[in-house]
Each structure stands twice: as structure tokens, then as C-alpha cells.
């Protein structure tokens, strides 16, 4: 469960807060579409949720853990253990193979490493399995990531987000670089995996056309009092 209450965040050198949320709750296993045009405080909210940005005021709790009470290092460890992230595009490190990009998801988390091993014996085996499950052929796995299409790159990123079964998946406009057909197919695969691991999905996008696929749609401008 993710719970936000009385959250106020003001960036340095800014006179007014960028984000001001009275209350937001996302239940376990829920797939939420968070609609936010650019400038609505989307990135700030994601930074606070994932613990890369320290909380100034109010509280954010993820899986019952109040992030405000954790130190920077502990927040980083918490993120490594419990949150998988998919970015808009260029999700992958160019100098690693697709397989290595996936196992990177376990690199900073013994917990996720253990879970991946519990499931498939080895982290690499689990990475391989996830890539296959997300529709990537074996012959693509040894290639350089720059040889993959954007759709394929996003699947690799999704596999990295899912490896080691983090409870929360945060996807920041992961489909914006994809065409309409691939978009829905990608979301379908994403949901397939999320349901398998009972992961909570927070999908951020400015594109409302996808919102009907989700359990719930939240409009960030409507809950962010700072932008009103």
C-alpha cells in the first residue's frame, strides 16, 4: 500500500511549492493510471515516492514504511528492494548486454537477488525467463542494446523492473516512444507480469487514451493543490 498525506514539496530556489497533496492512497496490487501533463509535479512525485528526493513536509509511506523516517542510504536500499522503475525511453545502459541490463535490477539488492534465485536458481536464469516472458527471443539477448528497437528496449526495461519481484512498479511514460499498437501490447505484457507477482503498478502518462486499461485513473493536477 502506498499512502501520501499532507505532502508539500518546494524545490530549492523556488518561491512556491511544486507539489502539495493532501491525501493519496494506492492499494496493493492496484494498477493506477496517474495522469499528469508536464509541469504538473509528476517527476517530483516520483522522486518522493521512490525515495530519491527527501521528504520535506508531510508523509509518504510505501508498504507500511514511512520514507520520511529513513535516511538517504536507507531510502536507496528500500528502493532497490521494493521498487522497479521503467522510464520513458533509453532505459538501458548502452555498455551492458540486454541480459546484464536486466540483472542490474538485482545488483544493489540482496533481497531481490535472493528472490530471483529462489524462483529460478540463478539471477541470470530469472532474467532470461523474464525476457522470454516479455516476448524477447534468445537471439536478441546477446546483441548490443543499441541494436534493439525501442519497443524491445522497453521490454528489457520492464524485465529489469520485475526481476526479484519488487512490490511496486513505477512506469514513467514508458509507452510514449511506442506506436499505438505496440503501446497496448506492452501494457498487456506489463500487466501480465504484475498480476503474476501481485505488484502494484503506478503508470504515469500525459496520454489519457490508455487510462481505460487501468483499475483507476488519478489526475495529478486535480490532487496537486500547488498547481491549482
Amino acid at each position: 500500500m502506498i499512502e501520501i498525506s499532507d505532502l508539500i514539496y518546494t524545490w530549492q530556489n523556488h518561491a512556491h511549492p511544486t507539489l502539495q497533496i493532501k491525501h493519496l492512497q494506492v492499494n496493493d496490487g492496484e494498477k493506477v493510471f496517474l495522469h499528469g501533463p508536464s509541469g504538473s509535479g509528476k517527476s517530483t512525485l516520483l522522486g518522493l515516492l521512490t525515495g530519491t528526493t527527501p521528504i520535506q513536509h508531510g508523509s509518504v509511506s510505501v508498504l507500511g514504511q514511512s520514507l520520511a523516517k529513513l535516511s538517504g542510504t536507507k531510502r536507496d536500499r528500500f528502493r532497490a528492494d521494493h521498487i522497479g522503475t521503467i522510464f520513458q525511453n533509453f532505459n538501458l545502459l548502452p555498455y551492458l548486454s540486454p541480459l546484464e541490463n536486466v540483472t542490474l535490477g538485482c545488483e544493489f539488492s540482496p533481497r531481490r537477488t535472493k528472490r530471483a534465485c529462489d524462483e529460478r536458481g540463478q539471477v541470470v536464469a530469472q532474467a532470461h525467463y523474464l525476457l522470454n516472458a516479455l516476448g524477447l527471443d534468445d537471439n536478441l539477448l546477446s546483441r548490443s542494446v543499441s541494436e534493439l528497437s525501442i519497443g524491445q528496449q522497453q521490454r528489457v526495461a520492464a524485465a529489469r523492473a520485475f526481476i526479484g519481484q519488487p512490490e511496486v512498479i513505477i512506469a514513467d511514460e514508458p509507452t510514449s516512444a511506442l506506436d499505438a499498437d505496440t503501446r497496448e501490447a506492452f501494457i498487456a505484457t506489463l500487466f501480465g507480469q504484475a498480476e503474476k507477482y501481485q505488484a502494484t503498478v503506478i503508470f504515469v502518462s500525459h496520454d489519457n487514451s490508455l487510462s481505460h486499461l487501468f483499475d483507476r485513473k488519478i489526475s495529478l493536477p486535480s490532487i496537486n493543490e500547488a498547481s491549482q
Partner: protein, 443 residues
């Protein structure tokens, strides 16, 4: 996959710029090491060359020129000291010993030095060490010669062998007179000085060599002597191998000097420094002919002081080159940091701490500097192997092919430290970005 492995892979991904940077550092390291090695080895090989000699006397020329020609066999003086002047000066009060030397000929590229037995008795090098024979003994007559260790080794000569010394400088001798061979009776132990590269023959033999040569205006008076010596030494020649068998017992020392008209220079030792100064003054004002007396220690120091500036400038330049190469690395790394903000954000998203990001960037600087130092050292040794023979034959500087000295390791350590410190800048910038960017990917 540790951070180090990530750093290596990331470097490999940008290998063109990384390798160029690495190569720049390697070259600067090689340059610095070479300059320092040459400087230190040159210094010790210069100052070890002669010791215990109070004065070197030659025809009037420059101090350093006289030192170089008489001791280092570099360059050659055209003028000479007349035998009469030598005889006159060596009788001065306080003169403990004197060694006449006559240079100007060479055997297969090695200097031929005519002298007498006092050379083996009084010549000192390094820390007042006397010349030792690794085998054989000093020459006792006009048909015998003594080799420096390197001459024997390089030319494959051995005791008892007969060789022909002919007139002229350089490898090609103008004349080969197989009828006038000399016997190797002694090989000196290595000294690490030009003595190793010298063929020592009796003064009298110098005359013999010159006498057989028709070309130079060689001393017609001595050609008459030739007959005398010819028969004399012919007899000795028969005895030559015999002498060796029986040691020096029945080898009656015969005339080693003959009647030379002139010699190149002579070395002198005195009973007291007081005499040294007095005789030096007398020689420099010598009426009969223009002579020059130098104190080798003083001239060595002068020579060294002269080279000191050059040496310091070289050191300065090589240090600047090292600094430039490290700054080059800094520039490259700093430029990549902003290009890599996305990469850093991805690493942050999977749980990398800002400290990890800092280490990753630091590792890259350390890896590049370390590999630069390693390749630089390899280049240095490769260069040493190539250049050593040339330096040895041209300048008489023997470089040692030894492992890195503590001083050289310190230099490398300083470069490593500087490289590491330089790496802190891009690392700090990446650290700052990773904190400021958070989850948002800029660019």
C-alpha cells in the same frame, strides 16, 4: 557485477576517447621515467668515471673538453703534450704518480689507449677503486695489450689471442698489418666506466701503429725506431704465449714507452692538495707550450652544473606533460558526466546510492591513470632497451635495465594520486547530479 566491472564496461564503451586519454598518460609517464632514469644514471656514471686523480694535463683547450676527451673518450683533442713537457712536469715536487695517455686510435670502434704500467697501478674510479684484472695481467712489452671488459665480451676476445691494432678512428681501419699482431695478456674486470670500452696498449706500440701507416705526417723519426722495436718485439712475440703459461715470472718488463714525441694528456696524483694547486698554476702558465691542467672533480662538477639546467628544464617539461595529460583526462571525464546523466539516473533507479555513482566515476579515473602508468612503464622499458646501446656508444652513459627504483615508484605513485584526485571532480559532479536529478532523466 561490481561497480568496478561497471566502470570497466563503461570505459570500454567509450574506448576511443578513453584509449586516447590513456595513451597520452602512458606517453607522459614514459617521458618522465626516461628523463629521470637518464638523469640519475648519467650522473652516477659520470661521477664514477674517475677518482683519485688530482690533475689532468693536456694541450690548451676547454676544461670540459679536456675532461671529455681524456676520461670519457668523447671527442678528440687535436693538440698534444710534448713528451719533454711531460717529463719535465712529472718531476715537480709533490707529484706522487703520473699516467701518460695517448688516444686517437680505435680498434673496431673501441678506443685504443697508449699508456705505461702506472695506469694499472694508479688509475682509480668510482670510490677510489683500483683496476682489477678479471684474467691475465698488465702488458710487459710492446707486443702485449690489455682489454677492457666490454671490448673482450663484445668482440669475443680471449687471453692469448693475437689481434691487429691499426691506425685510425672508427670501425674501418685503413691498414691491416697481419704481420704486426699484438697478444691479449689481460682482461680487466668491469668498472662501468669508459675503461670497459678501451683497448690498452703500451705507449711504444702507438708509435709502432703509426709507423706502419704511410699517410699521416707520422713522425719520421720514429720510423727509424720501428726497426729497432720490430726486431725487439718480434722476439717477444715468440715468447708471448709462453709468458702467459708461466705467469709473469720470466717476462722481463721491457721498454713500454719507447720514445714518443707527444702524448694526448697525462693524469697526476699529488702528495698533498697544496702541491696540486701549485703545480696546476705552474702548468697553466707553462712557458714551453700552452698546456691546461684541470682538477677532474671540479670539472666534473662544472660539467654537471652545466647539464643541471638542461636536466631541470627537461624534468619540468616532462612534469608539465604529465599534468597536461591528466588535465586531458579530467576534461574528457567531465565532458562525459553530463552526457551520462541518464545512465546515472538509471543506476539510481535500481538502487545505486549517490556514493556508488561517486565511486563509479572515481574508478574510471583510477583505471585510466593506472593503465596509463602501466603502459607508460612498459613503453619506458621498451625505449630503454632500444636506446641503451646508442647512449652507451655515443655518450658513454650506461643506463641500468633494473626494476623501478623506489624513487621511480614514488613518481608513479604521485601520478596515480594526482589522477585519483583529478577523478574526484567528475565524481563529485556526478554525485551532485545524481542527488539533484533524482528520478527525472535530464537531457
Amino acid at each position: 557485477m561490481t561497480l568496478l566491472k561497471l566502470a570497466l564496461k563503461s570505459c570500454w564503451n567509450r574506448r576511443a576517447s578513453v584509449l586516447l586519454t590513456l595513451f597520452t598518460i602512458a606517453i607522459s609517464v614514459m617521458l618522465l621515467l626516461s628523463i629521470e632514469r637518464v638523469r640519475i644514471d648519467a650522473k652516477s656514471s659520470f661521477s664514477n668515471t674517475i677518482s683519485g686523480t688530482d690533475l689532468i694535463v693536456g694541450a690548451r683547450t676547454g676544461d670540459i673538453q679536456l675532461l671529455l676527451s681524456s676520461v670519457f673518450r668523447i671527442g678528440h683533442s687535436n693538440n698534444a703534450v710534448s713528451w719533454q713537457s711531460y717529463q719535465d712536469i712529472k718531476k715537480r715536487r709533490g707529484v706522487a704518480w703520473s699516467i701518460p695517455i695517448s688516444l686517437g686510435d680505435s680498434h673496431k670502434g673501441y678506443a685504443v689507449l697508449g699508456t705505461d704500467s702506472s695506469y694499472f697501478e694508479y688509475y682509480r674510479y668510482a670510490k677510489k677503486q683500483a683496476l682489477q684484472f678479471s684474467s691475465g695481467r698488465a702488458f710487459h712489452n710492446a707486443k702485449e695489450l690489455v682489454l677492457g671488459s666490454e671490448v673482450a665480451k663484445k668482440l669475443g676476445y680471449h687471453l692469448g689471442q693475437n689481434i691487429v691494432i691499426s691506425h685510425g678512428m672508427g670501425n674501418t681501419s685503413f691498414h691491416h698489418h697481419d704481420d704486426n699482431p699484438m697478444t691479449i695478456v689481460g682482461i680487466l674486470a668491469p668498472t662501468g666506466t669508459p675503461v670497459d670500452k678501451t683497448v690498452h696498449i703500451p705507449l711504444i706500440a702507438i708509435d709502432a701503429i703509426h709507423a706502419t701507416n704511410s699517410k699521416p705526417r707520422a713522425i719520421t723519426r720514429n720510423s727509424n725506431k720501428q726497426h729497432e722495436h720490430g726486431s725487439h718485439s718480434g722476439q717477444d712475440h715468440e715468447h708471448g704465449p709462453h709468458d702467459l703459461d708461466n705467469g709473469s715470472l720470466n717476462s722481463e718488463p721491457s721498454d713500454l714507452i719507447g720514445s714518443p714525441k707527444q702524448i694526448t694528456a697525462f693524469l697526476m696524483g699529488f702528495d698533498s692538495p697544496l702541491y696540486t694547486l701549485q703545480v696546476r698554476r705552474n702548468i697553466n702558465q707553462y712557458k714551453a707550450e700552452p698546456l691546461l691542467a684541470i682538477m677532474p672533480t671540479v670539472t666534473l662538477k662544472e660539467l654537471w652544473d652545466m647539464l643541471d639546467i638542461v636536466e631541470k628544464i627537461l624534468l619540468l617539461f616532462s612534469m608539465v606533460v604529465v599534468i597536461i595529460s591528466l588535465l586531458g583526462m579530467l576534461t574528457t571525464l567531465l565532458a562525459t558526466v553530463s552526457q551520462r546523466r541518464r545512465e546515472l539516473a538509471i543506476l539510481r533507479s535500481v538502487g545505486a546510492r549517490p556514493w556508488h555513482i561517486f565511486s563509479l566515476l572515481s574508478f574510471e579515473a583510477i583505471i585510466i591513470t593506472l593503465l596509463g602508468c602501466v603502459f607508460g612503464t612498459l613503453l619506458f622499458y621498451a625505449g630503454l632497451l632500444t636506446v641503451t646501446p646508442m647512449l652507451q656508444s655515443q655518450f658513454g652513459i650506461s643506463l641500468s635495465l633494473t626494476p623501478l627504483s623506489p624513487y621511480e615508484l614514488t613518481l608513479l605513485g604521485v601520478i596515480m594520486l594526482s589522477g585519483t584526485l583529478m577523478g574526484l571532480f567528475p565524481a563529485a559532479r556526478a554525485y551532485y547530479y545524481s542527488l539533484a536529478d533524482g528520478m527525472s532523466i535530464k537531457i
